[in-house]
């Protein structure tokens, strides 16, 4: 003989848990959409920065001020800033980078 009352209680509990699930799912969805948006912004910013750095790297006139500091930092962080190898990881010093930075 099946205990119908017990079954009802079980279904009610399940319903509650599904409700909680739904709420959690909704929160996660919001979080993910926030992350996606942030990622998109970062990617865009990255593209813009790379493009700007590439322009600096191609420029034959010495780079000055903020741009020079930014590129110098990028180079110190281990990245090429020259247009030959732009954006790739640096192995050792690079003549073309240093030329751009006026430090050959």
């Amino acid at each position: 003989m099946i205990d119908k009352q017990a079954m009802l209680r079980q279904i009610e509990q399940l319903q509650d848990r599904i409700g909680e699930f739904y709420q959690e799912l909704g929160e996660l969805k919001l979080l993910i959409s926030d992350l996606i948006e942030e990622n998109g912004q970062l990617a865009l910013e990255n593209v813009k920065l790379r493009e700007r750095a590439r322009l600096y790297a191609e420029e034959k006139t010495p780079i000055q001020g903020e741009a020079a500091r930014y590129l110098g930092q990028l180079y110190e962080d281990g990245f090429h800033i020259c247009n030959v190898n732009y954006g790739s990881l640096r192995k050792g010093e690079c003549l073309f980078c240093l030329q751009s930075l006026q430090r050959v």
Binding site: N85, E93, Q99
Partner: protein
């Protein structure tokens, strides 16, 4: 086809074209040499689709016959086998008879029968319009290549750096090569048939190294033709083709330093030996780093490999100017540059431990080799 040819003549021609025979390929026909017999001469062609070499052999007026053409025709034969066979043949003269696609090679008591391949399947050499050309003695072209090709990059990631920049701005021809850690430049004044404003091409370093093996070390003139995507170099009865690398070579106009703070003069042979001894212990560290302590009194070359040990050697430079300086650099780069400058008394100009330094002949700026030092780290 039927010919009788002097063994040494045939083996020399095969040796020349063999530089364009691939060691591995998916197209077996490329292992072959395309042998064509005309009424007045024979022609041998090899083309791996990157490099192509064609050479012609004419009968000469020597009292002894060098080449006798009995019947014209053509065939493609496996070049490496043919070269090995011809070298080992017992007699001075070789007879080659071709019927259909089978070649019979006879010399003295030996007879070989070789299966040939169909000449109609052999790839055509690129056509190069022979208009844009420069002329120079072969040994001058050799020095341009020897001073630069070694400095090209080996990694294919940046294709332009695997080539040597050929840059002609009347009347100067410059060869430039760099792997982005070092840079080598050599230049000459070249004769041209016509006048060009500017002629630029990026020639694969590998092609130039093969060309180096077959260029005669003589005053004999070579002609260099540059077409859209092909290089053609002709010398004697030989034509050398190479594809060119597409793309823009990086700007180097501000790379070469114009000032210096420390300058030394050294005998390249003595300096090379010292660096080689220090480099024995530098093999273990990734960049083969050695250190140079430049002092007015003497130069100290040291290397330190934490697991193995260390080495110190002192040398007296021929001359010393400027301030004391300490610098670390890749031993191989230094040795390559010194080897290229083997025939000169060498002057080395330094600016600072982090700036590129220059090696060049004492009394000239050509050729010129530039090396970036390694930054001092815990293991250097």
């Amino acid at each position: 086809m039927r010919i009788v040819i002097l063994k040494s003549l045939l083996s020399q021609a095969l040796q020349t074209i063999s530089k364009a025979i691939p060691t591995r390929t998916t197209k077996p026909i490329l292992y072959g040499v395309y042998l064509e017999v005309f009424a007045t001469h024979i022609q041998l062609t090899a083309y791996d689709q990157e490099i192509g070499i064609q050479t012609i052999v004419h009968p000469t007026d020597d009292p002894e016959p060098t080449l006798q053409i009995e019947q014209t025709g053509s065939i493609v034969l496996h070049a490496k086998y043919l070269l090995d066979i011809v070298r080992k043949l017992p007699h001075k003269l070789v007879r080659i008879d071709v019927t259909d696609l089978t070649a019979t090679i006879r010399s003295g008591s030996a007879t070989y029968t070789l299966n040939g391949m169909d000449p109609r399947e052999y790839p055509h050499l690129p056509s190069v319009t022979e208009e844009m050309s420069l002329s120079m003695p072969s040994n001058v072209l050799i020095s341009l290549i020897e001073q630069t090709a070694f400095a090209t990059a080996t990694s294919e990631i940046r294709p332009t750096l695997t080539g040597v920049l050929f840059s002609f701005v009347e009347p100067q021809l410059r060869f430039i090569a760099s792997d982005s850690h070092r840079l080598s430049i050599h230049s000459i004044y070249a004769e041209t048939k016509y006048s060009y404003d500017k002629l630029e091409a990026i020639i694969p370093g590998k092609s130039l190294n093969e060309l180096l093996k077959i260029l005669p070390d003589s005053e004999e003139f070579t002609d260099i033709y540059i077409a859209d995507n092909q290089l053609l170099v002709t010398f004697g009865a030989t034509k050398f083709y190479s594809r060119l690398i597409e793309g823009q070579y990086p700007d180097i106009s501000r790379i070469i330093p114009t000032t210096w703070r420390t300058a030394i003069e050294v005998d390249p042979k003595q300096f090379t030996e010292s660096i080689e001894r220090a480099a024995l212990l530098a093999r273990e560290n990734e960049n083969q780093v050695i250190r140079l302590y430049l002092r007015r009194t003497h130069i100290e070359v040291t290397s330190n490999s934490p697991d193995i040990g260390k080495v110190t050697e002192t040398i007296d430079p021929i001359s010393f100017e400027g301030d004391d300086l300490q610098i670390a650099c890749n031993a191989k780069f230094l040795l390559d540059a010194l080897k290229a400058l083997n025939n000169y008394q060498v002057r080395i100009e330094f600016t600072s431990p982090g700036s590129a330094f220059i090696l060049k002949p004492t009394n000239s700026d050509r050729p010129l080799h530039l090396i970036l030092p390694v930054r001092f780290g815990p293991n250097t």
